[in-house]
Symmetry: C2
Subunit: 642 residues, 2 copies
Amino acid sequence: MKHMRHQRVLITSLEPSVDAGRWPVRRLIGESVEVTAGVIADGHDLLAAELTVRHPNGKRSVSRLKLRWNDEYAGVFACTVLGRYAYKVRAWVDRFATWQDEFRRRVEHGASENEVRVALLSGAALVREAAAKARRNKRLTYFAKAMESGLVSKALHSQLSTLMRNNDARIGSVESDWQHVDVDPPRAGFAAWYEFFPRSTASAPNVHGTLDDAAERLERIGALGFDVVYLPPVHPIGTTARKGKNNSPTASGDDPGSPWAIGSAEGGHTSVHPSLGGMDAFDRFVRRATELGLQVALDIAFQCSPDHPYVAAHPTWFKQRADGSIRYAENPPKKYEDVYPLDFGCADYVALWMELKRVFEFWIDRGIKIFRVDNPHTKPFAFWEWCLGALRKKDPSLIFLAEAFTRPKTMYTLAKLGFNNSYTYFTWRNTKEELRSYVEELAHTRVAEFFRPNFWPNTPDILHAYLVNGGRTAHITRFILAATLSPTYGVYGPPFEHVYNKQHAEREEYADNEKYEVRTWNWEDDTSLQPLFGKINHIRRAHPALQQLRSVCFFEVHNQHILGYAKSRGNSRIVCFVTLDPFHEQAGDTVLPLDFLGLDPVMPIKVDDLLGEGSFMWHGAHQHIHLNPHIMPAAIYSVGNP
Amino acid sequence: MKHMRHQRVLITSLEPSVDAGRWPVRRLIGESVEVTAGVIADGHDLLAAELTVRHPNGKRSVSRLKLRWNDEYAGVFACTVLGRYAYKVRAWVDRFATWQDEFRRRVEHGASENEVRVALLSGAALVREAAAKARRNKRLTYFAKAMESGLVSKALHSQLSTLMRNNDARIGSVESDWQHVDVDPPRAGFAAWYEFFPRSTASAPNVHGTLDDAAERLERIGALGFDVVYLPPVHPIGTTARKGKNNSPTASGDDPGSPWAIGSAEGGHTSVHPSLGGMDAFDRFVRRATELGLQVALDIAFQCSPDHPYVAAHPTWFKQRADGSIRYAENPPKKYEDVYPLDFGCADYVALWMELKRVFEFWIDRGIKIFRVDNPHTKPFAFWEWCLGALRKKDPSLIFLAEAFTRPKTMYTLAKLGFNNSYTYFTWRNTKEELRSYVEELAHTRVAEFFRPNFWPNTPDILHAYLVNGGRTAHITRFILAATLSPTYGVYGPPFEHVYNKQHAEREEYADNEKYEVRTWNWEDDTSLQPLFGKINHIRRAHPALQQLRSVCFFEVHNQHILGYAKSRGNSRIVCFVTLDPFHEQAGDTVLPLDFLGLDPVMPIKVDDLLGEGSFMWHGAHQHIHLNPHIMPAAIYSVGNP
């Protein structure tokens, strides 16, 4: 029972926090962390609570939390630099403030002279106790003497309050565990990604493009308002068991193979395919992107073709069958003979893990800060926590996008491990209720503390039936949904902008897939969706409300096909209506969330039609919406009281 | 990085759990604990998860969890004895089951002879590895040999599966922390409490009743269907600064004083007031209650009158002012001169805490198992955790009701500390939305894991304006709400049943309060609410649906005054409608929750009117409800498909 008498304070809750502090909370640079702690003690004594913040540079700052209501204490700190912050909360009974508060009430309600005198002596005893330990004890002793001689005003003096606060012995104080906060660069939270295959960028048809050809496409991509260009793997491609067109098990002579069958005699994960122009062309590509304000995202796929240099140099890094042969990827009866998975649990794993970390470091040294990581859920969690942690410790500006299309617990766990961008289920959320409930889960639950979604309407692996059936209109709808619901989104551009939507006969992916062949695209096509890309990206950049996720607010539209949502940030207020029916005109009554938007219901509302480019007025929250998908399946309005 | 290669499994969630295992979950004896754990690993390997339960007697039982969906593994254990259970979950990659599963698919899809042979060798290697460590290794070796010689059927043999399961080395297994479960007696979860002052039980008017007089009231209380009789403190009452009638600061000669001003020359917390008949009368009272199947709840109020023996024997147990005088309870400008609070943080606190624990033990030894603890929130949390923990360890059948009317975080924390019954905000929740949202918080959120509400429409300290304004009808309404919404409820009987609702001029409590004077009541009054008490308690006992909290389901009634709710348990199905308007007839359309009730919407529904005592039929979910508060402000229906 030692010291139990001093255990009076409990911290009953602490936010923000992920799994009681096991994983970091995520924030963007420039954002703040609003800390709230539930703090209670027995009785009615006044409590003190303090926030300690450890900054990425190791320095500490300390501030008092303020009581809000119902025993909830709040404070805030700004995330001004990249890296890992930590915070903790300490709380204790503030004995002198409690005494002073009681004493004030006593005096104000006309206590007897004797009562006041006796109470002053109690207070003075606390002051003397502090003086005995404090450095500035002369001043404290002065106050104690004044109180002992009956001077009420001295007992309530604000200087004494401050002195006692600063010299509080904090008997029985309790402290929370450290909670961590990882602060990411702005593009982790607001970015438009454009994916394309460099080998499909040559000007002449059916010619294998190089990264120099690809660099010529960057000006257009930049002009369309994208921030990140993401390239599938650029490494040499294996020839053993190379896949032909449409994933055919046999390749013909000029089939280029899948970029994800990484490695050949010409090199592995730190080499560039000679047909793409080699490392020099890569460096020129990155330089050009940087000039244009674009960031390059590389694909990291930790797997090897049978021709990868690792296979000969480190056969123990791969799983071997009982007959000594190396095991290719398979999920019986499916076989992927062109890919050897790495055995992260092999006896020599330390060397393997170090080498894989070196692959990241190699590209970081060449100026790459963004990585799209292929199938991270098939590699051990411990590897990612270790590897991403080590990389980010050296460079906290890194962005890792987890390409894990798997079950929810694993998706969310990868985000906790260090992936600060994640692919999502957006591609498969197509109805009003699906979209609403999914976005609310991402934006308005605990998930928002650690998981940063990146919405993609398509990828080389996924062509959803909605795009196949709905054609051009469905493409417009899905692009606008991705770009306005999520601040971070991406598009696998070339087929999407040309509404190429021929589906593979057996799989939910493109026919004549660029994964297995060189394609030719029209890169300057005003009849394509390129102008829409440019317009939407321009709107996103002009309106801060669209640059964040948490601010979304869905509201009622009396039509099952029309999704209505608003976003608000300061004076930036956006209202979107999107019809999910690509074929028929749809209309419905709606009630605008004027409270959420901070709009006066009595004043007229000026509405700027950002897609139609006109302006008009709304009066009141009750409006009628009409959308003709053959003209434009969505409306994006900037609204405000004039 | 040591052993990091084996760290593949993560337990991402574990339920039920209170604050990540810091506090116990609560269950009643006879209930079950359904454990669900989120368990994931990289890749597609099969996982195994195991539940270990430590029973109150120290024995352990182990069982496998079953995969439900989305990586959620579930298991269950029954709470068959009182006391503290604990459980934990362990999980690992099941290497052999994974191999066997892949092998089965391989064989089923016509793998080549060589593929099968090589795969069999891999499987045999796992079997040999197990055989090297296992006791029953002969059988394992037999299977390994069979596989090595190419026998497919042996590799898939269920005996081999079992053997390998039992001899799994569980490489890289992970384990959760222990989670605790406190299992309480039935009356902690289902009980009707009746509170009265024994001194007001004499047959002649204005005579100080004894516990023998009180014992004569027990037969009636039992006949009305109550389970617990709760007595305010029965100890000697101080004379110094004794309060007079209506909390007057001066008592006249025959004023009995407040029972909460505990202690006089005649004894303290382990004595019985001589005017109540002393300890012998107390024992007779308890004996009579026990004969009638009633349990006696005592009031434990850890505070002292200035005349309490502790004051002289242990002056250091009290806070002293600077002038050496003992500090009475006060919250300036309010003063409670008849009460000295104990100083739980005094230097001699170990002796004080031991003595207070002894107070409980004294009454436990006299047969008391239920304690209503006065103002526990003004005593240190550490004291309660220690004291209730120690008492419950010796006797897990104890029930402690926390009389804390304070802010939510403290109310909930007291429950976590060991109070397995709690007063609530029910008294102040009078509108439809207030009642619904409060009961849903208690029944359908995490709160239900640790907090057991005890609903009281009134107490000697609280007479709500709703009862004052609404008269007899309001009393009926509030009684029915308490008794049907919460399985555990209580009533401060005598004034309530006689609809005595004269409010104190300044406070939300009774005028001529029994706390300060002896009152005379008519104990056998058929025109009072006594028959209603009996009828409702009878309904509660006859219908298991009303004996639990979590089962409540609110549903729509299109009238802001009518609350509709249902409860369901097996074949017991109850539907309640209560009008909150004591003055006017109210009616409204409703949609019954037939799904929740497990009723067939096509079949007719037989309705037994438990208050009106007739029967009728409903057809379909859409019904119209009409309530005349002058006849009966509520309807309680037992429903079922005939």
